[in-house]
Symmetry: C4
Subunit: 191 residues, 4 copies
């Protein structure tokens, strides 16, 4: 099968999800700065989700690189991932519009947990099928470890939303930072 077409489709869906989120930032009717200020939590939620979708896109990019053939399992694991990612604009908007209220932060954390599980499934499938050298596998196994830490953080974030949404926020920002920063190590191993 054609790996490119799978990549193109995923890129398309992620590109649309990332852009559609901005539509939730409804244009205010007044022309005062105060009319804008009510949008700040929506803006921050959008920023956070944009970064998460950027991370998924980047990691997807690396993961697909490893695939040597596209199976039904990979197609459906991919669609599963895209389905959960497609719900992020909804949870982002709900959280932003309700100024990080308890339930909305919990749902946002769930909406990050679900694609993380989908990612874990997809990655396991790719690791089982790909035929690249061990160094590559090593890099991905480490990513797998990061994936497990992320899953734990999302679950903690769901729990803490009912105690203090701020702590949930710390977990969510922390996971994002963990994925952005050590990306360079993986890259070195590629070269």
């Amino acid at each position: 099968m054609n790996k490119n077409r799978l990549e193109t489709f995923c890129d398309g869906v992620i590109a649309i999800i990332i852009t559609i989120m901005v539509l939730e930032m409804k244009v205010p009717h007044g022309a005062e700065w105060s009319d804008l200020s009510t949008l700040l939590p929506i803006f921050l939620s959008y920023l956070m989700s944009f970064i998460y979708l950027g991370i998924y896109w980047g990691n997807h990019h690396h993961l697909m690189y490893a695939i040597t053939r596209v199976t039904s399992g990979i197609i459906w694991s991919n669609l599963n991932l895209l389905f959960w990612l497609s719900l992020i604009p909804f949870s982002t908007a709900w959280m932003g519009e309700n100024h990080f209220a308890t339930n909305t932060v919990a749902l946002y954390s769930i909406s990050l947990l679900m694609p993380a599980i989908a990612w874990y499934i997809l990655q396991s499938l790719v690791l089982k099928h790909h035929l690249h050298p061990d160094e590559f596998e090593f890099a991905h196994r480490r990513q797998n470890r990061k994936g497990k830490i992320s899953l734990l953080c999302y679950i903690l974030s769901i729990v803490f939303a009912f105690i203090s949404p701020v702590i949930s926020g710390v977990f969510i920002v922390g996971v994002a930072l963990m994925w952005i920063i050590p990306d360079k190590n993986i890259e070195k191993e590629f070269k």
Copy 2:
């Protein structure tokens, strides 16, 4: 002509349709779980349509693989398919917002029947023009049979919507399962 461009365009349109549907899940104003619960039928409708569009994308992927040249007929059959697929977000939202009311389930079934007919036309055209070995043709002819069963199920689903929408739902879910599960057989024949 360029087969890739046709694929890219179709992928783009399907990616947009699949993602745009989620916009119909309007963010509720309250921050209570009860505010979310009213969205459950919309969520289930979205899930169902996501799976159907995923199936179409996957099958389109296989079908285009068989094409050796792009004719006007294939371009227009493709556009015909995309037109009917583009109406699925509408019928999905109508059904979801009206909690699976009789008429809305009937329209949803019609909105699945129409692209199925369009698919049948496209597939027949491809089978007439492609030049690949018989094994491949065999696989597609079997798909053609599955296509005919699907057509029948959609028609039954339209009829049963006026008797019991639940039975329509069984037909719709059944057809989806039929397409997801035996995908593996086709794949084996490809390898």
Copy 3:
């Protein structure tokens, strides 16, 4: 420069325009067939515009085939075309929601005239730069003639909107048919 990237971008924009139009078919609140029937003019307008965008996409596909290098002029002529095409969802929705009222049919005709002019400019530019054999040029020159007939029909359609919108509709449907049907002749000359 890279011709592929220009094609991909145009395909993306046309795919989005074609799909975004369907968002104007707002889901009615009731679950009766009578709630749907008010959408019929919007549906018909959408169908017409879908066909026109399909024609543009198909012709663009043929035209880009002829390009041997991408110049600034071609990039901006393309963006000019995409700009006018991007306004079609607006004029389509205005016409559909106002049940083919005089002004709305006139604007719709204008919204078809503008991309037709943009297309004419783009095509002239391509014909000046491309280096393919004469047969190809011949085919395009004939398309150029069809382009001129279309321009005339759009202008007549604008004028007749103020006399009888039905006649405008005949012109609009007629032009669409003219572009769909003899496509096959061009194809023959390609082979």
Copy 4:
């Protein structure tokens, strides 16, 4: 890594941003020309933003041409650029709906300044990593100079918004013209 996938993703996002803006031109309920006339400032804002996004797309096209390998830095600089570009539909709509009021013109100028800074970062990164001949570097260094002039103009445009929004408009249109017109020189140096 795969440069193509980065390009495709950026093209996708820019294509969606450029098209989504048109959704802010809400279809008026009446069918009179006067109903349309209130949309004129929104139309003009859309036109301006369409041109800016077209310029970014064209320049991105040139810049990516220079890249010989995709690093994490380039991926994130790109996402940074796309993030700021994705906010343009919002600032465009706010400005258009409020008929070029002071604050809205200031925000629009800021929404042009931010992607310009992001572009500057991306370009610097590419210039540091790319390995193409000096002529190419020369062309880009000149673009860098144009980038600096643009940054200055955007800042002046923000300041003047509070004195006279018309002067801001002159700066904004001026920068657009500066980028559109001398594009041809760069092209010559490429050939």
